[in-house]
Amino acid sequence: MSTASLVGDLENAGRIVRYRPSGNRKARRCLFLTADALRTYNDDKSAVVLLAGRGAIKNAFDHWTLGRRIWGHQSRGIFTEGRFLKPLHPPPPNIWEIKVTEPVVQVRIFGLFLERDHFLVTSLHTRKFLDEGQNWLDVMNKSAAAWNALLPTVSPLTGHQIGDYVSENYDEFPIRTKGPRKN
């Protein structure tokens, strides 16, 4: 069964919802939210909405779906993961964060790749919450569990460089899975 069929089934069953850019803007990349992620975004009293605001999060969704550039951090001609999209240090593997860094209270959007250019958002959290105790790891484990609940027979996309995950408008950088955990 193709990813499109699986996603279609999940959408039809109301288990995930797609994010569409405003107006008549065409999407260059796809973004889907799980029920939990959508609930957090829609909840006026959730920490991310109260402390960071929906505006900055919506802009991050736009950045992805409108195909804006995935910048890498450049140092001496070498690119590493940049300010927007970052693979998180495993285990569990294949968990990513979209970074919302501009508000004073920063937000991290967690998710996994269904396929190239297709990101499934599993949860949203403030950076402050994540830095307390073991919350990074707990949230990553919950992201993996959310994936398994939705797509038990499918593995998330795995690659070696960002170009395996994004088809256009990006700085190529390798996906680091070894070395000290920094998240």
């Binding site: 919802v17 008549n24 803007r25 065409k26 939210l33 900055a56 501009e102």
Partner: protein, 142 residues
Amino acid sequence: MNFPLELKALEKTELAEYGLAQVRDVAFDAFLRMWRYRQSQGWTQKRLADNIGRDKATVSKYLRGPANWTMRTLGELVQGLEADVQITIEPLEEPSQDGANYDAYDEHDWNTSRIKAVTPLPLPLATGTAVSSAIYSVVKNV
């Protein structure tokens, strides 16, 4: 499961935050593109810093993100890059001018519309009419 199928629309007060985030994002994107172009010509952070009369650490901070940028910062950086600036604001109800001629969700819409179109297809297929109308529905929906 009680699952609202839409993202909540932004409140009027949230629209300002969204607009600010969008403008910052687009401005930073434009700045970095120009910076990369200058880098390809051999420019260093020191040269940009010298051009705007600031130290290299400040330029390095500007390059990390637009968190504390003001309109003045952007103007300063544009001049420091020896560049010109153009700003385009487009009506949302019209297609974007960026030349996108496809939508990444098309394959999913195709999948969904195919299911909807095939379901009411009368069986057995006695004439070609039913087939034609089903195909037309799919094409129309796509």
